[in-house]
Protein backbone atom coordinates (compact mmCIF):
# COMPACT_ATOMS: atom_id res chain seq x y z
CA UNK A 1 0.00 0.00 0.00
CA UNK A 2 1.39 3.35 -0.97
CA UNK A 3 1.64 6.51 1.10
CA UNK A 4 -0.40 8.12 -1.66
CA UNK A 5 -3.26 5.76 -0.94
CA UNK A 6 -3.18 6.68 2.74
CA UNK A 7 -2.97 10.39 1.98
CA UNK A 8 -5.86 10.18 -0.45
CA UNK A 9 -7.87 8.34 2.16
CA UNK A 10 -7.19 11.04 4.76
CA UNK A 11 -8.29 13.64 2.23
CA UNK A 12 -11.67 11.96 1.80
CA UNK A 13 -12.36 11.76 5.54
CA UNK A 14 -14.40 15.01 5.79
CA UNK A 15 -16.80 13.75 3.11
CA UNK A 16 -16.89 10.32 4.70
CA UNK A 17 -17.75 11.85 8.08
CA UNK A 18 -20.51 13.92 6.48
CA UNK A 19 -21.97 10.83 4.84
CA UNK A 20 -21.67 8.80 8.03
CA UNK A 21 -23.28 11.59 10.05
CA UNK A 22 -26.24 11.66 7.70
CA UNK A 23 -26.66 7.92 8.20
CA UNK A 24 -26.11 7.58 11.92
CA UNK A 25 -27.50 10.91 13.10
CA UNK A 26 -24.83 11.47 15.72
CA UNK A 27 -21.19 12.43 15.59
CA UNK A 28 -19.78 9.70 17.82
CA UNK A 29 -21.30 6.82 15.87
CA UNK A 30 -20.37 8.54 12.63
CA UNK A 31 -16.71 8.70 13.61
CA UNK A 32 -16.76 5.08 14.80
CA UNK A 33 -18.21 4.11 11.47
CA UNK A 34 -15.67 6.09 9.45
CA UNK A 35 -12.80 4.71 11.47
CA UNK A 36 -13.97 1.13 10.98
CA UNK A 37 -14.42 1.75 7.28
CA UNK A 38 -10.91 3.15 6.98
CA UNK A 39 -9.46 0.13 8.73
CA UNK A 40 -11.38 -2.14 6.38
CA UNK A 41 -10.19 -0.14 3.40
CA UNK A 42 -6.57 -0.38 4.48
CA UNK A 43 -6.86 -4.14 4.87
CA UNK A 44 -8.27 -4.38 1.37
CA UNK A 45 -6.32 -1.65 -0.34
CA UNK A 46 -5.30 -3.97 -3.16
CA UNK A 47 -8.94 -4.12 -4.22
CA UNK A 48 -9.05 -0.40 -4.91
CA UNK A 49 -8.60 0.27 -8.60
CA UNK A 50 -6.35 3.14 -9.52
CA UNK A 51 -8.21 5.75 -11.50
CA UNK A 52 -11.56 5.10 -9.84
CA UNK A 53 -13.20 7.32 -7.27
CA UNK A 54 -11.96 6.63 -3.79
CA UNK A 55 -14.91 8.44 -2.20
CA UNK A 56 -17.40 6.16 -3.96
CA UNK A 57 -15.42 3.10 -2.93
CA UNK A 58 -15.44 4.30 0.67
CA UNK A 59 -19.14 5.21 0.59
CA UNK A 60 -19.80 1.62 -0.37
CA UNK A 61 -17.76 0.29 2.54
CA UNK A 62 -19.39 2.69 4.98
CA UNK A 63 -22.87 1.89 3.78
CA UNK A 64 -22.18 -1.83 4.02
CA UNK A 65 -20.81 -1.61 7.56
CA UNK A 66 -23.68 0.60 8.65
CA UNK A 67 -26.40 -1.61 7.20
CA UNK A 68 -24.77 -4.67 8.75
CA UNK A 69 -24.53 -2.98 12.09
CA UNK A 70 -28.08 -1.71 12.01
CA UNK A 71 -29.42 -5.12 11.21
CA UNK A 72 -27.32 -6.81 13.82
CA UNK A 73 -28.36 -4.32 16.42
CA UNK A 74 -31.99 -4.92 15.46
CA UNK A 75 -32.64 -1.30 16.10
CA UNK A 76 -35.21 0.69 14.31
CA UNK A 77 -36.17 4.31 14.36
CA UNK A 78 -34.24 7.40 15.16
CA UNK A 79 -31.19 7.26 17.38
CA UNK A 80 -30.51 10.83 16.55
CA UNK A 81 -29.83 13.43 19.17
CA UNK A 82 -30.46 16.74 17.47
CA UNK A 83 -28.11 18.52 19.82
CA UNK A 84 -25.41 15.97 19.22
CA UNK A 85 -26.00 16.04 15.50
CA UNK A 86 -25.55 19.75 15.56
CA UNK A 87 -22.36 19.62 17.59
CA UNK A 88 -20.22 19.87 14.51
CA UNK A 89 -20.97 23.52 14.11
CA UNK A 90 -23.45 24.22 16.82
CA UNK A 91 -25.84 25.39 14.16
CA UNK A 92 -23.60 28.39 13.51
CA UNK A 93 -23.58 27.76 9.81
CA UNK A 94 -27.18 28.88 9.70
CA UNK A 95 -27.46 32.60 9.94
CA UNK A 96 -31.05 32.99 11.08
CA UNK A 97 -33.02 31.26 13.80
CA UNK A 98 -35.44 29.91 11.22
CA UNK A 99 -32.51 28.50 9.29
CA UNK A 100 -31.26 26.70 12.38
CA UNK A 101 -34.73 25.37 13.01
CA UNK A 102 -34.88 24.12 9.44
CA UNK A 103 -31.54 22.34 9.82
CA UNK A 104 -32.75 20.69 13.00
CA UNK A 105 -35.88 19.55 11.22
CA UNK A 106 -33.76 18.17 8.39
CA UNK A 107 -31.63 16.10 10.79
CA UNK A 108 -34.70 14.77 12.55
CA UNK A 109 -36.48 14.02 9.32
CA UNK A 110 -33.46 12.19 7.90
CA UNK A 111 -33.36 9.96 10.97
CA UNK A 112 -36.96 8.90 10.44
CA UNK A 113 -36.31 7.51 6.96
CA UNK A 114 -35.76 3.79 6.39
CA UNK A 115 -32.04 3.02 6.05
CA UNK A 116 -32.07 2.29 2.34
CA UNK A 117 -33.91 5.48 1.51
CA UNK A 118 -31.66 7.47 3.81
CA UNK A 119 -28.51 6.18 2.15
CA UNK A 120 -29.81 6.91 -1.35
CA UNK A 121 -30.94 10.41 -0.45
CA UNK A 122 -27.68 11.18 1.32
CA UNK A 123 -25.54 10.07 -1.60
CA UNK A 124 -27.54 12.09 -4.14
CA UNK A 125 -28.63 15.18 -2.22
CA UNK A 126 -25.68 15.60 0.12
CA UNK A 127 -22.72 13.87 -1.50
CA UNK A 128 -23.71 14.93 -4.99
CA UNK A 129 -23.34 11.54 -6.63
CA UNK A 130 -25.16 10.80 -9.84
CA UNK A 131 -27.91 8.20 -9.88
CA UNK A 132 -25.56 5.81 -11.65
CA UNK A 133 -22.80 6.31 -9.10
CA UNK A 134 -25.28 5.90 -6.27
CA UNK A 135 -26.56 2.69 -7.83
CA UNK A 136 -23.01 1.35 -7.93
CA UNK A 137 -22.36 2.26 -4.31
CA UNK A 138 -25.59 0.65 -3.16
CA UNK A 139 -25.32 -2.25 -5.60
CA UNK A 140 -28.85 -1.77 -6.93
CA UNK A 141 -30.31 -0.74 -10.30
CA UNK A 142 -30.68 2.95 -11.13
CA UNK A 143 -34.45 2.53 -11.08
CA UNK A 144 -34.28 1.38 -7.48
CA UNK A 145 -32.28 4.46 -6.58
CA UNK A 146 -34.93 6.64 -8.19
CA UNK A 147 -37.78 4.94 -6.38
CA UNK A 148 -35.97 5.14 -3.03
CA UNK A 149 -35.30 8.83 -3.63
CA UNK A 150 -38.93 9.44 -4.48
CA UNK A 151 -40.18 7.71 -1.35
CA UNK A 152 -37.61 9.44 0.81
CA UNK A 153 -38.55 12.86 -0.50
CA UNK A 154 -42.26 12.21 -0.17
CA UNK A 155 -41.68 11.49 3.50
CA UNK A 156 -39.10 14.17 4.14
CA UNK A 157 -40.44 17.25 2.42
CA UNK A 158 -43.59 17.68 4.54
CA UNK A 159 -41.42 17.40 7.64
CA UNK A 160 -39.42 20.36 6.35
CA UNK A 161 -42.58 22.32 5.77
CA UNK A 162 -42.14 22.00 2.02
CA UNK A 163 -45.71 21.49 0.95
CA UNK A 164 -47.70 22.78 -1.93
CA UNK A 165 -49.41 25.36 0.19
CA UNK A 166 -46.21 26.54 1.82
CA UNK A 167 -44.67 27.42 -1.50
CA UNK A 168 -47.60 29.23 -2.96
Amino acid sequence: MTDRFRQDLVATVPKLRRFALSLTGNAADADDLVQSACVKALKNAEQFREGTRMDSWMYRIIQTLWIDDRRRAKTRGAAIDPEDAGLSDGGKSARLPEDRMMLGLARKAMATLPEKQRAALSLVAIEGLSYKETAQVLDVPVGTVMSRLARAREALMPQLGLTKGALQ
Binding site: V10, Q35, T64, M157
Partner: protein
Protein backbone atom coordinates in the same frame (compact mmCIF):
# COMPACT_ATOMS: atom_id res chain seq x y z
CA UNK B 1 -50.88 19.58 1.28
CA UNK B 2 -48.62 17.40 -0.80
CA UNK B 3 -47.54 18.27 -4.30
CA UNK B 4 -49.48 17.12 -7.32
CA UNK B 5 -47.54 17.55 -10.51
CA UNK B 6 -48.36 17.34 -14.19
CA UNK B 7 -45.02 15.89 -15.18
CA UNK B 8 -43.91 12.74 -13.38
CA UNK B 9 -42.18 13.52 -10.12
CA UNK B 10 -39.26 11.25 -10.91
CA UNK B 11 -38.66 13.26 -14.08
CA UNK B 12 -38.76 16.52 -12.19
CA UNK B 13 -36.46 15.06 -9.54
CA UNK B 14 -34.02 13.92 -12.21
CA UNK B 15 -34.04 17.48 -13.52
CA UNK B 16 -33.43 18.93 -10.05
CA UNK B 17 -30.65 16.40 -9.45
CA UNK B 18 -28.89 17.27 -12.70
CA UNK B 19 -29.47 13.87 -14.24
CA UNK B 20 -30.94 15.01 -17.54
CA UNK B 21 -29.09 15.74 -20.76
CA UNK B 22 -29.04 19.38 -21.89
CA UNK B 23 -31.79 18.64 -24.41
CA UNK B 24 -33.96 16.89 -21.84
CA UNK B 25 -33.35 19.63 -19.29
CA UNK B 26 -34.37 22.27 -21.84
CA UNK B 27 -37.66 20.46 -22.38
CA UNK B 28 -38.33 20.45 -18.66
CA UNK B 29 -37.49 24.14 -18.40
CA UNK B 30 -40.02 24.92 -21.10
CA UNK B 31 -42.60 22.77 -19.34
CA UNK B 32 -41.98 24.51 -16.03
CA UNK B 33 -42.61 27.90 -17.58
CA UNK B 34 -46.19 26.84 -18.24
CA UNK B 35 -46.75 24.80 -15.11
CA UNK B 36 -46.12 26.74 -11.90
CA UNK B 37 -47.21 23.81 -9.77
CA UNK B 38 -44.39 21.72 -11.21
CA UNK B 39 -41.99 24.63 -10.81
CA UNK B 40 -42.98 24.80 -7.13
CA UNK B 41 -42.18 21.12 -6.72
CA UNK B 42 -38.76 21.54 -8.33
CA UNK B 43 -38.10 24.51 -6.07
CA UNK B 44 -39.05 22.42 -3.05
CA UNK B 45 -36.76 19.59 -4.13
CA UNK B 46 -33.86 21.99 -4.43
CA UNK B 47 -34.58 23.59 -1.07
CA UNK B 48 -34.72 20.13 0.52
CA UNK B 49 -31.38 19.11 -0.99
CA UNK B 50 -29.70 22.35 0.00
CA UNK B 51 -31.08 22.07 3.52
CA UNK B 52 -29.87 18.51 3.89
CA UNK B 53 -26.41 19.40 2.61
CA UNK B 54 -26.25 22.28 5.07
CA UNK B 55 -27.60 20.21 7.97
CA UNK B 56 -24.78 17.69 7.73
CA UNK B 57 -22.02 20.01 6.55
CA UNK B 58 -20.25 20.30 9.87
CA UNK B 59 -17.54 17.68 9.20
CA UNK B 60 -16.50 19.50 6.04
CA UNK B 61 -15.27 22.41 8.13
CA UNK B 62 -13.53 20.38 10.79
CA UNK B 63 -10.04 18.91 10.87
CA UNK B 64 -9.75 15.15 10.48
CA UNK B 65 -10.05 13.63 13.96
CA UNK B 66 -6.68 12.49 15.25
CA UNK B 67 -7.86 8.96 15.93
CA UNK B 68 -9.02 8.50 12.35
CA UNK B 69 -5.93 10.11 10.89
CA UNK B 70 -3.67 7.89 12.96
CA UNK B 71 -5.68 4.84 12.01
CA UNK B 72 -5.03 5.63 8.35
CA UNK B 73 -1.47 6.84 8.54
CA UNK B 74 -0.47 4.12 10.94
CA UNK B 75 1.45 6.19 13.45
CA UNK B 76 0.57 6.43 17.08
CA UNK B 77 -0.97 4.07 19.56
CA UNK B 78 -4.49 4.31 18.20
CA UNK B 79 -3.52 2.62 14.96
CA UNK B 80 -4.89 -0.59 16.42
CA UNK B 81 -8.58 -0.04 15.99
CA UNK B 82 -11.29 -1.84 17.78
CA UNK B 83 -14.23 -3.13 15.77
CA UNK B 84 -16.96 -0.68 14.85
CA UNK B 85 -19.14 -1.79 17.68
CA UNK B 86 -19.24 -4.62 20.11
CA UNK B 87 -21.41 -7.33 18.72
CA UNK B 88 -23.68 -9.18 21.07
CA UNK B 89 -23.63 -12.90 21.39
CA UNK B 90 -25.81 -14.88 19.07
CA UNK B 91 -27.52 -18.18 19.23
CA UNK B 92 -25.48 -20.47 17.08
CA UNK B 93 -26.69 -23.98 17.47
CA UNK B 94 -25.90 -24.75 21.06
CA UNK B 95 -22.18 -25.22 21.29
CA UNK B 96 -20.75 -22.20 19.58
CA UNK B 97 -22.02 -19.33 21.67
CA UNK B 98 -19.57 -19.91 24.47
CA UNK B 99 -16.61 -20.29 22.19
CA UNK B 100 -17.45 -17.83 19.47
CA UNK B 101 -14.34 -15.76 20.04
CA UNK B 102 -11.97 -18.62 20.68
CA UNK B 103 -11.45 -20.07 17.26
CA UNK B 104 -13.02 -20.79 13.95
CA UNK B 105 -15.19 -23.62 15.03
CA UNK B 106 -16.89 -25.92 12.65
CA UNK B 107 -20.44 -26.29 13.82
CA UNK B 108 -22.73 -28.87 12.26
CA UNK B 109 -26.09 -27.30 11.85
CA UNK B 110 -29.35 -29.03 12.43
CA UNK B 111 -30.57 -27.96 9.05
CA UNK B 112 -33.46 -29.81 7.58
CA UNK B 113 -32.68 -31.14 4.13
CA UNK B 114 -34.17 -29.37 1.18
CA UNK B 115 -36.16 -31.28 -1.41
CA UNK B 116 -33.08 -32.10 -3.45
CA UNK B 117 -31.37 -33.70 -0.49
CA UNK B 118 -28.66 -31.15 0.08
CA UNK B 119 -27.63 -29.94 3.51
CA UNK B 120 -26.08 -26.66 4.41
CA UNK B 121 -23.66 -28.26 6.83
CA UNK B 122 -20.04 -27.76 7.69
CA UNK B 123 -17.71 -29.76 5.51
CA UNK B 124 -16.99 -30.47 1.89
CA UNK B 125 -19.86 -29.73 -0.47
CA UNK B 126 -20.75 -32.74 -2.56
CA UNK B 127 -19.70 -32.07 -6.16
CA UNK B 128 -22.65 -31.85 -8.50
CA UNK B 129 -25.11 -31.29 -5.68
CA UNK B 130 -27.63 -28.48 -5.67
CA UNK B 131 -25.54 -26.62 -3.13
CA UNK B 132 -22.40 -26.97 -5.24
CA UNK B 133 -24.20 -25.74 -8.34
CA UNK B 134 -25.61 -22.80 -6.41
CA UNK B 135 -22.20 -21.82 -5.10
CA UNK B 136 -20.68 -22.25 -8.54
CA UNK B 137 -23.12 -20.23 -10.57
CA UNK B 138 -25.68 -18.19 -8.67
CA UNK B 139 -24.90 -14.45 -8.71
CA UNK B 140 -25.14 -12.57 -5.45
CA UNK B 141 -28.46 -10.98 -4.67
CA UNK B 142 -30.53 -13.36 -6.78
CA UNK B 143 -33.04 -15.28 -4.67
CA UNK B 144 -33.87 -18.77 -5.82
CA UNK B 145 -36.83 -20.77 -4.63
CA UNK B 146 -35.88 -24.30 -3.64
CA UNK B 147 -39.11 -25.51 -2.15
CA UNK B 148 -42.30 -24.32 -0.60
CA UNK B 149 -41.52 -21.38 1.62
CA UNK B 150 -37.79 -21.78 1.16
CA UNK B 151 -35.42 -19.55 -0.71
CA UNK B 152 -31.70 -19.52 -1.17
CA UNK B 153 -29.56 -16.54 -1.97
CA UNK B 154 -25.87 -15.81 -2.18
CA UNK B 155 -25.29 -12.68 -0.14
CA UNK B 156 -21.80 -11.82 -1.25
CA UNK B 157 -18.62 -13.12 -2.76
CA UNK B 158 -15.53 -12.30 -0.77
CA UNK B 159 -11.96 -12.77 -1.94
CA UNK B 160 -9.57 -14.62 0.35
CA UNK B 161 -5.97 -15.59 -0.01
CA UNK B 162 -5.85 -18.17 -2.80
CA UNK B 163 -9.56 -18.29 -3.52
CA UNK B 164 -13.01 -17.04 -2.73
CA UNK B 165 -15.64 -17.36 -0.03
CA UNK B 166 -19.36 -16.95 -0.57
CA UNK B 167 -21.97 -16.11 2.03
CA UNK B 168 -25.07 -18.17 1.45
CA UNK B 169 -28.40 -17.67 3.13
CA UNK B 170 -31.37 -20.01 3.35
CA UNK B 171 -34.69 -18.65 4.51
CA UNK B 172 -37.32 -21.13 5.55
CA UNK B 173 -40.55 -19.23 6.09
CA UNK B 174 -42.40 -22.33 7.20
CA UNK B 175 -39.88 -23.20 9.88
CA UNK B 176 -39.36 -19.53 10.79
CA UNK B 177 -35.67 -20.04 10.37
CA UNK B 178 -32.79 -18.28 8.71
CA UNK B 179 -29.56 -20.17 8.09
CA UNK B 180 -26.35 -18.61 6.96
CA UNK B 181 -23.19 -20.28 5.84
CA UNK B 182 -19.79 -19.32 4.55
CA UNK B 183 -18.39 -21.62 1.90
CA UNK B 184 -14.87 -21.19 0.59
CA UNK B 185 -13.13 -22.51 -2.48
CA UNK B 186 -9.36 -22.35 -2.62
CA UNK B 187 -8.42 -25.17 -4.94
CA UNK B 188 -11.11 -27.53 -6.18
CA UNK B 189 -14.51 -27.73 -4.63
CA UNK B 190 -16.38 -25.78 -2.02
CA UNK B 191 -16.09 -26.31 1.69
CA UNK B 192 -18.64 -24.92 4.14
CA UNK B 193 -16.53 -23.34 6.85
CA UNK B 194 -19.23 -22.25 9.25
CA UNK B 195 -22.97 -22.11 9.60
CA UNK B 196 -25.11 -19.97 11.81
CA UNK B 197 -28.82 -19.86 12.45
CA UNK B 198 -31.52 -17.91 14.17
CA UNK B 199 -35.31 -17.57 14.09
CA UNK B 200 -36.44 -15.69 11.04
CA UNK B 201 -38.84 -13.61 13.08
CA UNK B 202 -35.93 -12.18 15.05
CA UNK B 203 -34.02 -10.84 12.09
CA UNK B 204 -36.26 -7.95 11.17
CA UNK B 205 -35.39 -8.11 7.50
CA UNK B 206 -37.37 -5.68 5.40
CA UNK B 207 -37.76 -7.76 2.33
CA UNK B 208 -36.87 -11.26 3.35
CA UNK B 209 -33.20 -11.07 2.47
CA UNK B 210 -30.34 -9.03 3.78
CA UNK B 211 -28.15 -6.81 1.69
CA UNK B 212 -25.75 -8.46 -0.74
CA UNK B 213 -22.90 -7.04 1.22
CA UNK B 214 -23.67 -8.37 4.60
CA UNK B 215 -24.22 -11.14 7.02
CA UNK B 216 -27.54 -11.07 8.72
CA UNK B 217 -26.85 -13.30 11.63
CA UNK B 218 -25.03 -11.65 14.45
CA UNK B 219 -21.61 -12.98 15.16
CA UNK B 220 -20.58 -13.97 11.66
CA UNK B 221 -18.20 -11.07 11.20
CA UNK B 222 -15.50 -12.51 13.51
CA UNK B 223 -15.34 -15.58 11.27
CA UNK B 224 -15.07 -13.49 8.14
CA UNK B 225 -12.34 -11.44 9.77
CA UNK B 226 -10.56 -14.60 10.80
CA UNK B 227 -10.77 -15.91 7.26
CA UNK B 228 -9.20 -12.68 6.08
CA UNK B 229 -11.95 -11.91 3.61
CA UNK B 230 -11.78 -8.74 1.59
CA UNK B 231 -14.44 -6.35 0.41
CA UNK B 232 -17.28 -8.04 -1.45
CA UNK B 233 -16.75 -8.30 -5.19
CA UNK B 234 -18.82 -5.98 -7.33
CA UNK B 235 -21.23 -7.68 -9.78
CA UNK B 236 -18.86 -7.42 -12.74
CA UNK B 237 -15.92 -8.93 -10.87
CA UNK B 238 -18.15 -11.66 -9.49
CA UNK B 239 -19.49 -12.52 -12.93
CA UNK B 240 -15.92 -12.72 -14.17
CA UNK B 241 -14.98 -15.08 -11.33
CA UNK B 242 -18.00 -17.29 -12.10
CA UNK B 243 -17.12 -17.33 -15.79
CA UNK B 244 -13.56 -18.38 -14.98
CA UNK B 245 -14.73 -21.21 -12.76
CA UNK B 246 -13.39 -19.51 -9.66
CA UNK B 247 -9.77 -19.87 -10.68
CA UNK B 248 -7.52 -17.04 -9.50
Amino acid sequence: MSFETVMKKTRLAAFADGELSPEEAAEVVMHLADHPEDQAYVDALMVASETLAEAFSGPMNEPVPKAIEQAILGNGPTAQIVPFRRRPAVWVGTALAASVAAALVAVPLAFSPNPSGDDLAVGLVKPGSYLARTLDTLPSGTPETVGEGREVMILATLPVDGGYCREIEVIDQTADRIDLGVACRRNAGWNVEVTLSEPLSATGTEDGFVAASGAEVQGLQPFLDRLGTGVALDPVSEADAIAKGWSR
